[in-house]
Symmetry: C2
Subunit: 110 residues, 2 copies
């Protein structure tokens, strides 16, 4: 990829929720945009941290001991090995950055 990415434009290309779209690469990491609403599944990435940047709306990263409430312009790194489950009451847009080989549901069934 040697062109710039407009995140709003990329998000306008699809409507499916929980469907990650790769918009770029940073070394062996993928840059992903995703639309989320409702609750995902509890899962863990044993081998990597995972960066969530909220681009639009509000997202809650549920951890087993607390909730992390993210608004637009806020980010959170889920540490490797920490079980989590994202949720959003209304549709929200997220930029995810993680190694390219990271499975969306981690240790949970795909």
């Amino acid at each position: 990829m040697d062109t710039k990415v407009n995140l709003t434009d990329e998000l306008a290309r699809f409507t499916e929720q929980w469907s990650p779209h790769v918009v770029g690469r940073l070394n062996d990491y993928k840059l992903v945009v995703v639309k989320v609403q409702g609750e995902f599944v509890w899962h863990t990435h044993g081998e990597t941290d995972e960066l969530f940047v909220v681009l639009r709306g509000r997202v809650t990263i549920q951890l087993r001991d607390r909730d992390v409430e993210l608004a637009e312009g806020e980010l959170f790194v889920v540490p490797r090995g920490v079980e989590h489950c994202p949720k959003a009451e209304r549709e929200a847009h997220v930029l995810l950055i993680e190694p390219a080989n990271t499975a969306q549901k981690g240790d949970a069934a795909q």
Copy 2:
């Protein structure tokens, strides 16, 4: 780091330009916010790509063969080994992501 980061709040903590502030880590990568205005120096990172996400304002990533004009909500990955020089006419705010050991000026004098 196990707390969320509000990018606007982090940027409000300092006024210096071209002074990278680390706000988080993603595995062995650093998450950095920086205020830019004017022109930086031409340099190259021989070992890594470098991600620029414009949070506020407009930034031009000058490459030797073209300029990449970035507005708010746009990102660009400078490929490893590609000489570049960021500039901004007015103060702009950027999120940078790159390996933690990456030197700000790459191969140029520190």
